[in-house]
């Protein structure tokens, strides 16, 4: 530009003899445009990467702590006077003792341990002391004792969940200031917690129950886990796979290889593309009307969830499968037909094997998007509080279950901040599953890419 402005080119012949070593104005502009374009591209990538980074950082900083949980460890004597009032050691008689009885036993053992270790409970009432143990603990102990009645009158070391606020204190969510205003916890309890920590009665360890336990009620955030959600999601993915792959692949093969090209197939084609664009909540309403109200499948069951997700995933799988079938070079079909293979043989011996990686990747990506789908599942009642595991397949498909993204949603909408941490933790688990699926898809694609 500057060259052109200060030294305008006099005559065309001069241009013809222009040296390659002298920069040329037009060339300069072209290169500048290219540089600008690269800069735009880099800026766009930088913006998306930083947004992604911020998102991941916030999820991980909120959620990673849910994989660790505060626990109280102390010895408990399983006195038969309390747990076996009939005195005959029969399991049937022992079931009459409710969690309240076990709760009292635990509180007594906890108090005794504090006394034995000489830890002062100054400013903490007996009720407050009892409340430092999770409301989940008596149930756990009861199940343990009823599972093995020979433990009666023995002294065992129990490691029970601490109350949600104590856990929050260890993770920094609960502070002395918030405790002042909190009816559920007092600063004195937190000071006691500090002393318990020094005495190694209170500690934090890896929270396997977060991955295995069912959901828990609002009062017991410390006990809530993803067990039912993971199982429900796994059941649904399995069913979606069983439903979608045969239907999707058969449809695609028929449309690509056998169907005559006419108005009807055009119509079908357009509608498949349209279905892929239908908002997922619409499929939820459809599922509610057809599968629950009309067909009478049980609400919140994995089978209904899977049927609804299949409706959504099918178009994706069909589109991916068709495009990978179309990508198989026609010369391969000619070759097979040329040696006298039938249409069927051509498709199954040659076209499908070559299209397989594309079909697999499409299927996995379809499944991944189904795994993250929430809205339609809310409509068919999968958001219900489920604290029983669904039984094993096949009957288990009819049992109420929930799904990972729905669990994220329902925890995020609860009031106790402890559930926000759980919600982010559930997102991490969901992301791990999604990443694993996508990586599998990429590996498959790399492995089988372009073998012809």
């Amino acid at each position: 530009m500057t060259v052109a402005a200060t030294n305008p080119m006099p005559t065309p012949p001069a241009k013809a003899t222009h040296s390659l070593l002298v920069p040329n104005a037009a060339m300069g502009r072209r290169n500048a445009a290219e540089k600008r374009f690269r800069a735009y591209g880099l800026a766009a990538i930088a913006v998306s990467l930083s947004v992604l980074g911020i998102m991941l950082w916030s999820i991980f900083s909120d959620g990673l702590s849910s994989f660790f949980q505060a626990k109280l460890t102390f010895p408990v004597t399983l006195s038969s006077e309390v747990l076996d009032p009939a005195g005959n050691g029969l399991r049937e008689e022992m079931t009459k003792v409710t969690t309240i009885g076990y709760g009292k036993l635990l509180t007594a053992a906890f108090t005794a341990e504090l006394a034995a270790k000489g830890i002062s409970t100054e400013g903490v009432t007996d009720k407050q002391l009892a409340e430092m143990i999770s409301k989940d603990a008596p149930g756990v102990l009861r199940a343990k004792v009823l599972g093995d009645t020979s433990m009666l009158d023995q002294t065992i070391t129990m490691s029970v969940l601490a109350a949600g606020r104590i856990d929050g204190y260890l993770k920094g969510r609960v502070t002395m200031e918030t405790a002042e205003r909190d009816g559920n916890i007092s600063p004195e309890q937190l000071q006691l917690a500090d002393r318990l920590k020094t005495a190694r009665i209170l500690g934090s360890s890896f929270n396997t129950r977060f991955l295995t336990s069912p959901d828990a009620s609002d009062q017991r955030p410390e006990a809530a886990g993803l067990g039912v959600a993971i199982l429900g999601s796994a059941y649904m993915m399995l069913l979606v796979l069983i439903i979608c792959v045969p239907i999707g692949v058969a449809t695609s093969i028929y449309l690509e290889e056998f169907a005559p090209k006419n108005r009807w197939t055009d119509l079908i084609e357009v509608n498949i593309s349209n279905l892929a664009a239908v908002p997922s909540i619409v499929f939820g309403i459809l599922g509610l009307a057809i599968f629950i109200n009309f067909a009478g499948f049980p609400q919140s069951s994995s089978v209904v969830g899977a049927l609804v997700l299949s409706l959504m995933t099918l178009p994706t799988i069909i589109i991916a499968t068709r495009s990978s079938i179309r990508a198989v070079p026609p010369s391969i079909r000619d070759a097979a037909l040329g040696v006298g293979a039938s249409k069927m043989q051509t498709v199954f011996h040659h076209v499908l094997p070559l299209a397989m990686p594309g079909i697999l990747t499409g299927t996995i990506l379809g499944l991944a998007s189904a795994l993250g789908e929430t809205a339609p599942l809310l409509l068919i009642g999968m958001v219900a509080f489920v604290d029983n595991y669904p039984s094993a397949p096949v009957e288990g498909f009819m049992d109420p279950a929930t799904a990972l993204p729905v669990q994220v949603y329902s925890w995020a909408s609860r009031s106790d901040p402890a559930f926000i941490e759980r919600s982010s933790g559930a997102i991490i688990v969901l992301l791990v599953f999604l990443v694993v699926m996508n990586v599998t898809a990429i590996i498959l694609r790399r492995k089988f890419e372009r073998r012809w």
């Binding site: 005559p260 070079p329 010369s331 391969i332 079909r333 000619d334 070759a335 037909l337 040696v339 006298g340």
Partner: protein, 271 residues
């Protein structure tokens, strides 16, 4: 000593007789692609034990006619074939004819080498397998070997039969495709510009091969190169704008064409 000589004599005898017999007879063949009238009223007799070359400018309908002979045009939904094509006196467009069986009898080699993305062995064995031509593995091995030998490829690949066919060079791939085509023991071999994707050395190998194949198959070859037609064929058909302009002895077509259009084409004025 006497036996083999007799055998050879009989063999030659057969060839002489079959030289005069029409293997394929086409009468009034018209092909339409939708409304495009691509082939107009073609009458031709393809002789047994002969290499017949189809020449003509691009788009004149050579491939179209070739693909009529094994009904590969059935796969083009817009294509419509009218007229009569007889193979050994039987109408191949008869309703009772299954094109799948026809294609085992009339093999095809394509312009671009298109081996299956499978092993060399599987490429050749595929046809015999699907047609149930062999009863056991030993027989299949034998067929594969003899076809690869006929296709002049055996010595190059005998140590790596399980290697992928797509890993061979272009010329080897095309010879593999020829081996694959002859493995179903066809009676006619159709070749659509089989050398156009090959270098001169590979072309020479394939041409030599075509001449050898003539003893067992009727070969029909579409070619762009008039030198190639002159080198490998005994009969030549010249197509122009969908018409079969001239058909006769190769020598006569190239030295003494009857039609002025043929003359212009071979002297390079059209095409």
């Amino acid at each position: 000593m006497e036996g083999p000589i007799q055998m050879k004599d009989i063999h030659i005898e057969e060839r002489v007789v079959s030289d005069h017999k029409a293997k394929i007879t086409a009468r009034g063949v018209q092909v339409y692609y939708g409304t495009n009238h691509a082939l107009k009223d073609v009458d031709v007799d393809i002789l047994a034990g002969t290499v017949t070359a189809f020449i003509g400018p691009s788009g004149c309908g050579k491939s179209t006619f070739l693909r009529c002979l094994n009904r590969m045009n059935d796969t083009v939904s817009s294509a419509r074939v009218v007229g009569e094509i007889l193979l050994d006196g039987e109408d191949i467009y008869d309703k009772r004819v299954d094109p799948v069986q026809l294609r085992a009898k009339v093999g095809m080699v394509f312009q671009k080498p298109n081996p299956f993305p499978k092993s060399i062995y599987d490429n050749v064995a595929y046809g015999p397998k699907i047609h149930g031509l062999t009863r056991n593995k030993a027989e299949l091995d034998e067929v594969v070997e003899s076809c690869l030998r006929k296709a002049a490829l055996w010595n190059e690949v005998k140590d790596r039969l399980q290697a992928p066919g797509t890993g061979l060079s272009g010329g080897q791939q095309q010879r593999l495709c020829i081996a694959r085509a002859i493995a179903t023991s066809p009676e006619v071999l159709l070749m659509d510009e089989p050398c156009s994707a090959l270098d001169p050395i590979a072309t020479a190998q394939v041409e030599e091969l075509i001449d050898e194949l003539r003893s067992q198959f009727s070969v029909v070859i579409v070619t762009h190169s008039m030198q190639q037609a002159a080198r490998v064929s005994q009969k030549t058909a010249f197509f122009h704008l969908g018409n079969l302009v001239e058909y006769g002895e190769t020598g006569q077509i190239f030295t003494n064409p009857k039609d002025p259009r043929t003359e212009s084409y071979i002297t390079g004025r059209i095409g």
